[in-house]
Amino acid sequence: MVKLKKNGRITSSALFSAAPILGLILLAAVFLLIAQIKDVNISYSLKNILNQSIITMVVATGAIYIYTLGAFDISLGASMCVSVLVGAMAYNRTGSLIVMLAVCVGCAVCISLISSVLASVFNLPVFVTTIAMLSLLNALVLVLIKVNGTGDVIQVPADAVRDINTPWFKLLVLILFTALCVLTFNYMKLGRQEKFLGGNPLCAELTGLSAKKLSIIGFAMAGLGVGLGAFLTITYAPTLSRNTAASVGMDVIIAIVFGGMPISGGARSKIWSAIIGSLSMTLLSQIMLMLNMNSGVSQMVKAVIFIAVVYVSMLSSKKNILPR
């Protein structure tokens, strides 16, 4: 637990642990400043930032449950791609958005459960099964596209999703899902148990917590996030291909790290990390774009800023051995 005050003064560790939030504020300030100088359409930009970050926010918020356990899921992007395609196919057969939502969520949750159950059955680190799932899901994507028989893409009619492709709807989804996650993570025993298990697996098991059960529940929550992200992806861009959601896996990792989430999980895990990190990442991309830099240079600058922000945010948790 970070000591916030000592002798009436704010401790340095409190400042460091607030680094992601301060980083977000700083990035927002830099963004607004550059936007003013470059005469950018700020209101449109903000809507744009919301559109670009919301899917990562939703998926990453669900993924927090996995990372809190100290686990790691490399197959989130592939899982989302499968959910997106299956959801689109379901809509094309039924014409119902509700069915599409249910199928997206159901498919994503099933995939996540398979990963975690397999890990339990074979007694493997869950990361190993997610690697296997990654290959399987990538192959499944190609099969789905072929089975659908409409060339290299699966399309949902744009008119069908136009009415829900609005910032209001996306915010509603985000708020509801975040509220659910905040409630279960911060105010119910699920969150506490997950943090305990992530922080000290041996002690957690000795106190009677079931690692397998918590892993399954955590993956199910992550699957819910992936499913909602898949639904939002279809509403935003209803032409879907094998490359849909290709970058989601890496975006989620960067977002939660950028947001101050410790990669090893445990007690210091925060559900808000996903939202802070997603927004920070998107703001940084927008700043790079406004500066219109060479792609390679822009990427190098992003790398430096990324590590600088994470370094500051983790200054309070340094030990005398190297982290792993």
Partner: protein, 274 residues
């Protein structure tokens, strides 16, 4: 355990995989290895996987997930290709430059890790982005092409690939089984806190691990580049895909290494299955 049982256990997986491949080939009406070219393709693929798996496993076994090995291979091959085409060097020169530059890039990566003391996965993400960006900037996005250079392209023969595999294997066995660094590496692997408490200097050990991984990926970058004479750029983590081909061989190798046969453990632990 009897020697025959140990041998059978050790060879079971590769023989089983071969049997499945032969069966699939027969069903499809093709011959699995019908020419020297088939063997060359197979041995080259094995070379790539051996090098990447060695590089990945050095750090992954220590709990250090490294996304940046692909970018090290990319940047080291770019540097070596640019210098080779500029100064008219041959394949040996290109290989040496690629290995050395890979080692330097790995060293930088390791120094960053021990300096910032952040989880290695985070450091590797940043390093991967940085190296990809640097490779893109160095070539202005064009990559490097030497498809006209018969000498460099002619390196890709079975004896040369086997030589690289043998050299990498010998290097790994010697360094990790017969040096102080190797003993300390294993001590840290099995108990980090205890090992550090006994006086093992973790920081130089970690830096050296990254450097060795970089050397191996430099060699892999060279093998990849001399395959078709072109190196194309990657951005936004496009270079991390080589890493994923190493996981299965690593796990199979680790599984096989569990079969108690002293000498074979040394061999199979370091010889991943393609």
């Amino acid at each position: 355990m009897k020697l025959e049982k140990k041998l059978a256990g050790t060879l079971a997986v590769p023989v089983l995989v071969l049997a499945v491949c032969i069966l699939l080939s027969v069903m499809k009406g093709v011959v699995l290895f019908d020419s020297v070219l088939s063997w060359t393709t197979f041995i080259r693929a094995m070379t790539n996987i051996v090098l990447v798996t060695f590089a990945l496993s050095i750090n992954l076994n220590s709990g250090r997930f490294d996304f940046s090995i692909g970018s090290v291979a990319l940047l080291s091959s770019i540097i070596s290709a640019m210098l080779t085409t500029r100064f008219g060097l041959g394949p040996v020169g290109m290989l040496l430059i690629s290995v050395i530059s890979g080692g330097v890039l790995g060293l930088i990566s390791g120094v960053i890790y021990v300096s910032v003391k952040l989880p290695p996965i985070i450091v590797s993400l940043a390093v991967a982005l940085f190296y990809e960006g640097m490779a893109f900037t160095l070539t202005d996005g064009h990559g490097v092409s030497f498809a006209n250079n018969a000498e460099l392209l002619g390196f890709g023969t079975i004896p040369n690939y086997l030589l690289i595999i043998a050299a990498a294997l010998a290097f790994m066995v010697i360094v990790f089984d017969h040096t102080r660094f190797g003993y300390e590496y294993k001590a840290l692997l099995s108990g980090q806190k205890v090992a550090v408490s006994t006086g093992i200097r973790e920081i130089p050990n970690a830096v050296l691990c990254y450097t060795i991984a970089g050397l191996l990926m430099g060699a892999q970058g060279f093998v990849s580049a001399t395959n078709n004479g072109a190196i194309t750029m990657a951005l936004n983590f496009g270079s991390i895909s080589p890493m994923f081909m190493a996981f299965l061989p690593m796990f199979i190798g680790g599984f096989i290494a569990g079969i108690p046969m002293k000498n074979s453990v040394i061999f199979w632990e370091h010889f991943p299955q393609p």
